[in-house]
């Protein structure tokens, strides 16, 4: 044990700990802490480690050794966790522990490098033990991977969310008061329905729900119109419509809101035009429900489109042809066959819109005005003057319940009833063109919408190129210069622009997080698709669940969970990276699962029977075949890390400021020019990154690869 057990104030790279490994309480290694500092509670973990080492030397049969190893290492892990959570900064963390063991003189801070290594070693030994007993197909690598993925999800997704639950039940001093959560959740501010009678404002819970339902319905209708046009008409600009789907991925979520302000805001174009031509005084009508809804519709329609295009394409043309041979005309076929077949997909799209809406933070904070929703309310409870963590936790709990409720509803309603009719069998039918009425409806909805989206982005871009929007339309590059100025001086280049600091932090942290996201996601996907082990269903459920948890909730949860020992990382870059990784990992998992289910399972098995161990199989067989998915996960991990707001808004510090949070602060301060200039630069950067990668991947002729996979099977 050559590393300091506890976390260091000044970081591991300072080297100051080298001299204090034995003597100092702060810098001591695990053994030193036990022997010299009398921290007896650390000894079980270390003894377990030594025990396992001893076991591996004993000449005992394989299975018995596995059992012993698993038992000893498992006990070590449990005792490690017990001491880590049981003993905190001020001795025992709970009253009953003090009562049981007497007063604790000593204290301990967060775990450091030494403790982390010890924990990892114990977990690896545990998995080796289990593998020796024949679990996980007898493969130690698989066992280790499962343990690693499960532990990290437990620590960085499940534990923080559990912590929120706890926090909601605690009062300001950390005491447990179950009544408090009821009091917090029954406040009039949350549940009031006065807006319906016209005598005041509704509670934030209702606000959130109304908005989410409207957003879900709106995006579904719009998405369906787009999907029908692209798949079932001979509309000429289909390709252009598809480009729209890329936009929301690269756009920080509040940019639409900003653009709407430029058009409809107090000093926006519309208001100015009205004032100039009719003398109507400028209004603030864009701020509130209608503004947020509008922004969300623009932002999330592409997502619904992506969901629905798969659904519409999945309706088998043969079924429609069958309907037509049974004397049904085009419209009857559409109404009685095609639409009912799409129904599960429509429900899916609605719920996606619903979840996106309640999780959205950027648009409500920019456009909400008095119309508070849960995510903004949580933000103000944590960041604002109230500083009421309990209140924030209770609201986050409510938001979580809403999101999970929608998630479960989706699985219950849609899960078992997918009519997607794409199968291995050739389907020779031709899609039936849309009946006239439906076609006219789709076009009349979708086209103006698409035009407006383009306009919005155009204005958003132009907003960064004029002096002061609404007052002085002189073209200028001032905002860009202010943000991205580089000065040449005697000592070399100086990055003097206001945005550089947050820009580089964002890019660096995102670049660190993206490979980790892709790796962990694909590893989890590989385990879920290819390996059979106890708890597989639970693991799959856990990864999918974190999909549904709104970013705001994750952010708050991280603040609560990681600002006290044993894992004390609030305010560091580490917590932001971890947040990025575990927020975006489900995407990697999904991409991996989708790609992996197209690769014949017997390829893995062939490698195994050819003496390829699991890691070799991964490197030589699975990863080369998964390269497109891997690239996708990488890009997505990077882009999402750059554009995310809701989760990290609680985690940033002056030292580690991120681009999006920096922009949001500029917007809240009314400094639109700089914010817009910065956003445009970000969008351009992301677009360039995506295009570059698409070119690189496109060159690998995926069609041929698919043909090869088929060929080797045929």
């Amino acid at each position: 044990m050559l590393l300091p057990w506890y976390a260091l104030q000044e970081g591991l790279d300072s080297g100051a700990w080298l001299g204090g490994l034995w003597s100092s309480e702060d810098y001591g290694s695990g053994f030193a802490e036990v022997l010299a500092q009398g921290k007896w509670w650390l000894s079980p973990a270390l003894l377990a480690l030594m025990g396992c080492f001893g076991l591996s030397l004993l000449p005992i049969p394989r299975e018995r050794r596995g059992t012993c190893l698993a038992f000893v290492a498992g006990a070590g892990v449990v005792l490690f966790a017990a001491q880590a959570w049981g003993i905190g900064l001020r001795g025992w963390t709970a009253g009953w522990l003090t009562a049981l063991f007497g007063e604790m003189e000593s204290r301990q801070v967060g775990i450091g490098a030494g403790a982390a290594v010890a924990l990892i070693a114990l977990l690896s030994l545990l998995s080796i033990g289990l593998a020796l007993r024949g679990a996980f197909g007898g493969d130690a690598f698989v066992a280790g991977a499962v343990t690693a993925v499960a532990t990290s999800i437990l620590l960085f997704t499940a534990w923080p969310i559990l912590r929120i639950l706890l926090q909601a039940f605690q009062n300001g001093d950390g005491a447990f008061e179950p009544a408090l959560v009821i009091e917090r959740l029954s406040a009039a501010k949350i549940w009031s329905l006065r807006c319906l009678s016209g005598s005041g404002r509704c509670g934030v819970a209702w606000n959130t729900l109304f908005l989410a339902v409207a957003c879900g319905a709106g995006t579904t209708a719009l998405g369906l119109a787009f999907a029908l046009i692209v798949t079932r008409t001979s509309f000429r600009f289909k390709k252009t419509l598809r480009v729209l789907t890329v936009l929301p991925i690269v756009t920080p979520p509040f940019v639409i809101g900003l653009a709407l302000i430029l058009i409809f805001g107090r000093s926006g174009l519309v208001n100015q035009l009205l004032e100039w031509s009719l003398g109507v005084p400028p209004t603030r009508w864009i701020y509130g429900f209608q503004g947020v809804l509008l922004a969300q519709l623009f932002a999330f329609t592409p997502v619904a489109f992506l969901v629905l295009i798969g659904v519409v394409e999945g309706v088998s043309p043969t079924l429609e042809e069958a309907s037509q041979t049974l004397r049904a005309d085009a419209w009857t076929t559409f109404a009685t066959v095609s639409l009912p077949l799409m129904r599960p997909g429509l429900a899916n799209a609605f719920l996606v819109g619903f979840i996106e809406s309640i999780a959205d933070f950027g648009n409500p904070i920019v456009l909400g005005g008095d119309y508070g929703v849960l995510s903004t309310e949580i933000y103000f409870a944590v960041v604002g003057a109230q500083l009421d963590y309990g209140h924030a936790a209770a609201l986050a709990l409510l938001l979580l319940v809403l999101a999970l409720g929608a998630f479960f509803l989706q699985r219950r309603v849609v899960g078992g009833r997918s009519y997607a009719t794409i199968s291995g069998k050739g389907d020779a039918g031709l899609p039936v063109p849309l009946p006239k009425g439906a076609r006219r409806w789709a076009l009349s909805v979708a086209l103006p919408w698409a035009t407006f989206t383009v306009l919005l982005y155009g204005f958003a871009f132009m907003g960064g190129l004029v002096k002061v929007w609404g007052r002085d339309y002189t073209p200028t590059l001032d905002h860009y210069i202010k943000a991205f100025a580089i000065e040449r001086s005697a000592s070399g280049l100086i990055w003097s622009g206001a945005a550089w600091n947050s820009f580089w932090t964002t890019v660096t942290l995102a670049a660190i997080a993206a490979p980790l996201t892709a790796l962990l996601g694909l590893l989890a996907a590989w385990l879920l698709v290819r390996q059979r082990f106890v708890g597989r269903a639970a693991l799959e459920f856990a990864t999918m669940l974190s999909f549904a948890v709104p970013g705001t909730v994750i952010g708050v949860a991280y603040v609560f969970a990681f600002n006290i020992p044993p894992i004390e990382i609030t305010g560091t870059a580490l917590i932001i990276v971890i947040c990025f990784v575990f927020r975006n990992m489900p995407v990697g998992v999904r991409a991996g699962i989708a790609a992996m289910s197209q690769i014949d399972r017997s390829l893995d098995e062939a490698s195994a029977t050819l003496r390829g161990r699991a890691p070799q199989t991964l490197i030589h067989v699975v990863l080369p075949l998964l390269r497109p998915a891997m690239v996708g996960a990488l890009v997505y991990g990077f882009v999402r890390a750059v554009t995310t707001v809701s989760a990290v808004v609680f985690l940033v510090t002056a030292e580690y400021e991120l681009a999006t949070t920096y922009i949001i602060l500029r917007v809240i301060n009314g400094d639109y020019g700089l914010a817009i200039a910065y956003s445009s630069a970000l969008i351009a950067l992301m677009l360039a990154a995506i295009l570059l990668i698409q070119l690189a991947v496109g060159d690998r002729r995926l069609g041929r690869r698919a043909a090869q996979l088929q060929g080797s099977r045929a």
């Binding site: 394989r62 299975e63 020796l132 007993r133 024949g134 197909g137 007898g138 493969d139 014949d600 017997s602 390829l603 098995e605 062939a606 490698s607 195994a608 029977t609 050819l610 003496r611 390829g612 161990r613 699991a614 070799q616 030589h620 067989v621 080369p624 075949l625 690869r705 043909a707 090869q708 996979l709 060929g711 080797s712 099977r713 045929a714």
Partner: protein
């Protein structure tokens, strides 16, 4: 003994795929696991490979207990139904894969791989991609890839099911030839009874997770122990008959008005189910010989090499194949059926 199963059980959750089977495979022999789909034969094969671990019981390979070992740690290799050639590697790289993983140098691996490819008649194809080969060639690459590791047991999982009929016969002869020339121990899985009979030293017939019967191809065809086996190994007509023992070796089977004396030392007197092979029925114009079974033709289909008849008799509707195609009998014709003793099998007696 190369492979030994001792009371092996495999359960998935609550369903039992394999329920307590024991068998041994002698070194240098080709043993086939045969059965309808879902009978547990592929699960059994995968347990030999180590791709599935048994829920209960022991598995020994070459005398060593491998019950808990993963596929990688066992000295077996497998030819997959889909061939499972790595699509991103050349033919040579595919064959080298296992050699490289077991620690051979690049040159040594390539040399052995070339020899292996030559053995299956694919010298000169080293640089091709799997997608550039025909189905039969891919199959050979898969065999070479498994062969070069010189495993104690070579496993085949329905290796011919993706080939057309003509190629199938060719490949199964090649596999048998290679197995006998190299003295390989092979466990082979198929659901095709003819294929099994053509390649095997011994056949293990499985049904719903159990071993139904085990023996040489001739044993199983001529002396099926159960009605299932009589049905599964070739065509057969089940019929109720009366048995009467003539002496310790001979048995008289009374099938309606017809009597057939067969060799049988075990069945006892009384009612029993017998199986009649369609090729053992000679169809003659009525009235025919004295011990013949009278009947009426219901259906007649000409299939080239023979004519298939459905004939209604006192013992039930019998299916018969008749090699005389010159004078087909029309439906409604009265016929007399002569049953050859070797095609009448007692499968169940009470």
């Amino acid at each position: 003994m190369s492979v030994e199963f001792r009371d092996v059980v495999k359960r998935y959750g609550t369903t039992t795929a394999v329920s307590g089977i024991s068998f041994t495979v002698e070194t240098g022999s080709l043993v086939t696991l045969l059965g309808p789909s879902g009978c547990g034969k592929t699960t059994t094969l995968r347990m030999i490979a180590g791709l599935e671990l048994p829920s209960e019981g022991r598995i020994l390979i070459a005398g060593r207990d491998v019950t808990r070992l993963s596929a990688t740690e066992r000295d077996v290799s497998m030819v997959f139904q889909s061939y499972a050639l790595f699509p991103h590697m050349s033919v040579l790289d595919n064959v080298c894969y296992g050699l490289r993983r077991s620690g051979h140098s690049k040159e040594a691996a390539a040399q052995q791989a070339r020899a292996g490819l030559a053995q299956v008649g694919l010298a000169g194809y080293e640089g091709r991609q799997p997608s550039e080969l025909s189905g039969g060639q891919q199959q050979r690459v898969a065999v070479a890839r498994a062969l070069v590791l010189k495993p104690s047991v070579l496993l085949f999982d329905e290796p011919l099911s993706n080939l057309d009929a003509r190629l199938r016969r060719q490949m199964r002869e090649d596999i048998r030839e290679l197995q006998q020339a190299l003295g390989l121990t092979v466990v082979y899985v198929t659901h095709d009874q003819q294929e099994a009979m053509a390649v095997s030293d011994r056949i293990i017939v499985m049904n719903v997770g159990r071993i139904e019967q085990e023996g040489t191809p001739r044993d199983l065809y001529e002396r099926p122990a159960t009605p299932f086996l009589a049905r599964f190994m070739g065509e057969s007509n089940p019929a109720r008959a009366h048995l009467h023992r003539l002496d310790p070796q001979r048995l008289r089977v009374q099938l309606g008005p017809a009597t057939i004396d067969i060799d049988n030392g075990t069945a006892s007197d009384g009612e029993a189910t017998v199986a009649v092979r369609p090729e053992a029925i000679t169809v003659e114009a009525a009235p025919g010989p004295a011990n013949a079974l009278p009947g009426t033709v219901v259906k007649a289909s000409y299939v080239g090499t023979h004519i298939e008849y459905s004939i209604e008799t006192e013992a039930g509707t019998l299916f018969a194949t008749c090699p005389q195609v010159d004078r087909p009998l029309a439906p409604g014709a009265a016929v007399a059926l002569v049953l050859a003793p070797r095609g009448v099998i007692v499968v169940e007696s009470r």
